[in-house]
Symmetry: C5
Subunit: 362 residues, 5 copies
């Protein structure tokens, strides 16, 4: 079912717990991808004048890129192969702690700087076959290169690769800090897509609630609230990360690229805004639903009370004249039957007056 499939994978305590006892900075993969998934290292090396694209299986193949004047984007798919990740990171002098974070697919989004390198961990959310997939990606920015690490094949960067290959875009003319921005920008752009799906479901829920005709399935409200909360927890640390990038002084992000990161920050804030709106709308639906339920109860009880208030006294009167006493004078009256109907209808009228004199029937 879409509802279940669309759920964003939960970052769970258990993933972290798996590594318990190991020293910090230990390179152990803590995810759950099968070892059979192949590891793939894609290298895109470019400068304004040219582009070289290779697949590097041996580590030594990467050495030239560490010092080159070109911009190099090395994308490793398959972080379950810890040695491969470590090899690439070792070549570029990535801090062991960062390697640990890269290998843990349940890390919290963050941005950290050591010396002139920057680590950004983010969650990439994308739609595949109509279903939301969420996956951690780690990015390391150095002077002239960006390393990216993902867990599974398939990502949100295809259009970026095309732009690099085509070669006359801004990305080819600028440095590796702009490449980092472009990578993050694609990730945030895909957040909007997922939002669109979630908002569509909120719209549907709201329409049902205002209509009020059918019984809203409470489970759906519940699920949607949880999914929005989950999404929010995906995006929230992303906001902090980009704010941290903006605050890094003398960092590797140059002044020319800063406006782009500020723009990115605005987009993430906008995602938060829309999420908050959606959350409030779902809460509104819940409250409306509660109020409608109690209205309905009032309606139900009103009918019961009206019926009872009118008929119970009449039934009592009928019961009285159903008694078998020897001397019930009314029974002998000529117009006894008329009289009892008058009595009963009178009683019913009193009941009706009592009911209608109450506010709750106005």
């Amino acid at each position: 079912m879409t509802t279940t499939q669309g759920r964003i994978r939960r970052r769970r305590a258990s993933k972290h717990a798996a590594k318990r006892g190991a020293p910090p900075g230990t390179a152990v993969y803590t995810g759950e991808v099968a070892a059979s998934v192949p590891v793939d290292v894609q290298v895109i090396d470019y400068d304004p004048s040219g582009l070289r694209e290779t697949e590097a299986y041996g580590t030594s193949a990467l050495t030239p890129y560490t010092q080159a004047n070109t911009v190099t984007w090395i994308n490793l798919t398959g972080i379950h192969k810890a040695e491969a990740v470590q090899a690439v990171c070792g070549e570029f002098g990535v801090h062991p702690l960062w390697v640990e974070d890269i290998l843990n697919p349940a890390s919290r989004s963050k941005a950290d700087m050591i010396d002139d390198r920057v680590l950004v961990i983010a969650r990439m959310v994308r739609i595949e076959d109509g279903v939301l997939h969420s996956e951690q990606v780690s990015m390391v920015l150095g002077k002239g290169w960006v390393l990216t690490f993902q867990e599974r094949p398939g990502d949100v960067w295809e259009s970026l690769r095309t732009r690099i290959r085509v070669g006359n875009g801004r990305v080819r003319r600028m440095n590796s800090d702009y490449l980092l921005h472009a990578l993050l920008d694609q990730i945030v752009d895909h957040y909007f897509l997922s939002l669109e799906q979630l908002e569509g479901r909120v719209d549907g829920l709201e329409a049902l609630a205002i209509d009020g005709d059918k019984r809203l399935d409470l489970g759906i409200i519940f699920e949607l609230k949880n999914e929005l909360a989950e999404f929010r927890r995906t995006v929230w640390p992303m906001r902090e990360s980009i704010a941290a990038l903006l605050r890094m002084e003398d960092g590797p992000i140059g002044g020319v690229v800063l406006p782009y990161f500020r723009d990115l920050y605005d987009h993430v804030v906008q995602v938060m805004d829309i999420l908050e709106t959606s959350r409030e709308r779902v809460v509104g639906v819940y409250e409306l639903h509660l109020a409608v339920t109690s209205h309905r109860l009032n309606d139900i009880m009103k009918l019961l009370t009206i019926v009872s208030t009118i008929f119970i006294p009449m039934t009592f009167i009928a019961g009285v004249y159903g008694m078998n006493f020897q001397h019930i004078p009314e029974l002998q009256w000529d117009y006894g039957y008329l009289y009892v109907w008058a009595l009963m209808l009178g009683t019913a009228a009193i009941g009706a007056v009592v009911v209608y004199s109450r506010r709750w029937l106005s």
Copy 2:
């Protein structure tokens, strides 16, 4: 219906999603205005001594204004024509990222500064034929000029244009930073108008709630809460934007004009205050409504219980003497019928005492 028409257009994720995959800074219009709406560029150029007003269709016509000593206000209507926006922005050297923001009618309100230029994005809310319209406007402030971009014809600045044309007001004597303030001031002034409409509806709702006579339509509470939340999300980032303008050091906003921006800030905060009050009042109506509903249920059930407690035992007694047993001694009594009435009334009295001895009838 006014309720529906008055709803402020929602900034939606879908608008952003439309551009997914494009590089940041790409000039693509992401709104939904028909291409047939004509583009209009209005130029008002003034200094204390004179005023020149033209409509510039070719871009080259704008070149003189970029360097002139006069204050120039260039207002472009119809941002769906991306080329026109780009042409104007190119002439004045506006950053490509800003052009992207200007073209996206779902941007978040913000203020940004690059070099000595300032971009302000805001939402303009105005009443036309008794209905609220909300639309994004972008303003770029440079040395001696202000560019404004709107999506559709019609805006809140007519009285400002008149003041400029009349020519002896403060706006003619001051610089382009004051012009930016005047533009924003008009936008904020119109927020108060919309607020007035919303407050009127809250007043009506509150009156209904305190009256308690008629059943409040829950959907109206719900709609109003959503509209107030929407309005709040329109104004909230505006507050941040103006605060950002006030914090810009060495920016293009001079010390003489700063008090005007502080005043503007106070007005926006006041809008937030009134909105918050309205929101609390609507929540109060909802809570009151819930409590009234449960009171009413108590009233309904009380009537049912009183009727039942009094008549059900009496009906039982009547039933007893309606039985056809051969030997029911009471049936033969001379005053049997009187006796049974005494019994029944006694039972009813006990029921009444039980009911009235409960707290809930006091």
Copy 3:
């Protein structure tokens, strides 16, 4: 009714909207005081050695005070006469924006500094004939003078005037910044009075709620909550204003007077504290009321259920033996009537046992 009369006048969006389209800084009165209310300008000029008190109708009469070495307090009553306000302000060089704020009786409380002048806008709340009146007052502090502007005759400063006249108090020995403090101190002192009235009503409400005997009028809870919220919105910006005064560096408030302003700040915070307490108590009453209502419903339904559970089965048995079948053996039994009573009482006993075995009667 006190409840209605005691309500603090709402600052409304409409007041601001009235001036829509006018340039910022336009001197237009936006309140609702009749033009017939007379304008009054009271001048109190003093130094430790002497006191001069006049009523100045012409503006030129004020000129000497702008430069004098004495402390001058000029109090203008009747801001609906915009020209009078403007004349006074013009004489003392008050910024046009401030004049606009002074003339708008729906301004938000605030403190602003331009050059060495300080504007403080506050709301004065006082009790007259047992009823709360709320009104905006504006104060402008300059070197050696304080201007105050109010909408209507009658204020909270009579005792201050007496202290100035008596002449041996601290206020006579100190500068105009201390006079500003004294003015604000009187305003805040009167907040406590209004609080006392509101607290008295909260006390009454709480007593009713704990007693639980009578039905609380929900409208009263609702009104009181709204009034407390309104009061809070009056005091809250006052806190910000005084904090802003304390932060003004190199401002006209001297070091000797600063402790007095800190003390004032503490008092405002205490007002907020008490208000917050009152608000929480009212919310508590509401929650208690909801819980009591649902308890009462349980009580009502319990009675109905007990009566029904006991009598409905008995009535059924009586009905059975009221049937007219030819062969109902029990009807012929000698002790049939006794048997049926035993049966009915047994059924009632079972009903009673079922009822009493439930938890909800413990």
Copy 4:
């Protein structure tokens, strides 16, 4: 009753209002202690080598201590005697504003510094005869002396006095800033005692709630919530005060004593923590109680519905055959009585099936 007696006295607006109109800094006692309570001034003067303890009735007796090299602790009990307080304060040059705060037993806890003197106002909570007493104490720290002011005899400092008298403790070796710390430390220590009492009551409430057997008295939840809120408002400004003391630069609190104040701060934060926990637990009890109430209502209604669904149709059938129509064929049947029982039991069975097929009996 303990519940009522244990209530911490409320700081009320009325106390402040009493002084309305008086100039700030006026020495008027605004509390409610009878004038007959005697005033007592206790002087403890010590240095590492010796200790002098006297009771000073005349003010001039205090003069030597203002300049001495020893540490002097002057404790005045009975602030309702304004002259006594003023005399002591005058001798030590305490600012008039502070005297006003000292005399107002409804001041908010605060810490203020003027020149090299520090005023700390706090609330002292202690248990006497099993009942909580709350009272304001003011402390003024100067170079070599500490003044303390309390409203009534009896305080939390007996053990501190003993430690000073014994003479080999840290307090004898250190300066007056340490004495201030020791005084505050005793006050905070007694907060824990009161907390213990409140926590005990929360424990009892929670036990009742989980048990669910007896009807919780809503009033108790309500009272406890109010008391916790009151306590919180006593402690919260204390936290601010100590934080303010820690921030005072170049103040009279020396670097050696700072760790002690940091420790004190941690204790107050811990008090807040425990209070917050208690508050959440009481809210939890309230929510649990609400949910239990609605569960119980369901139980009640379930019984009523089962009884009605089974017996009402049977009673109807019995009624049918109680009719007196001349030709009711079933009445003549040989096995008519058996048939009607079969019919009635069948109906009851259908009712039972309907009831049991609903989810709500699972």
Copy 5:
């Protein structure tokens, strides 16, 4: 039962209250461990080249470690023996206030720095025999040594000891600040384990709630909420502590180790994130439960109302013709019995129509 056993021990006010009256810095144990538990002092002294492990019973045995160039980890188990703690602390010059904190097993987690020493107090949570145990540990970091204090035997550091003993890990090559990090890292890693257990229970609760089939035990929701709140209060000050460590300038934590502490901080924030998620999910379950309860009530009442609306009028008609009046014409009709059935079924049909025409059966 696991639920009860798994509960994290509450830090209670009573523990603190036990020491009331003692001077701050007094070394008194305020926990509840029996005096018979043996005290154990374990010393691990290492440098990259070697490792010495001893158990030091006499204090003088520790003297050499205070100045050594090696890294020394001294772990004392059994803080109920105040003298032992004091002896160790005295040897290393630990501030008396810190000794007091170490001896109070109900201290709040915190980090403090005096001179070049750092105190960190944290709560260690671990699983033993499937049950959660929570215990305070105190760590003092000095130049070349770390002291740790625990209440009971058994801790979370076994794997760290192994890493130190094996000797080729990072911990052997680095300084005492890294050792402090390693100790804290183990504590935080074990938080994830406890979280896993709590999350498992939340999962179970959520599954029950969505299923909706069985009656959720409210007590379990209540307990779980309390436990999550308790856990949150354990972790929250830990976050502050580590943030404080990161802010300590010129402290004993070197630049090389800082990234490790930043990483630790990220982990604690992640724990908070997961806790917050769990808390929201439990609240969601509660709300869902409330809504389901009121739905169920509607269902119950609907059945009652349907049965009553259909049968009560029919029973009345039957009652009418059960009356014994002499002249009831219908009774003599040939098709009277058919007529009455038609009448009754018609009435029932009307009842059914009334019921089904209401929204609440759609």
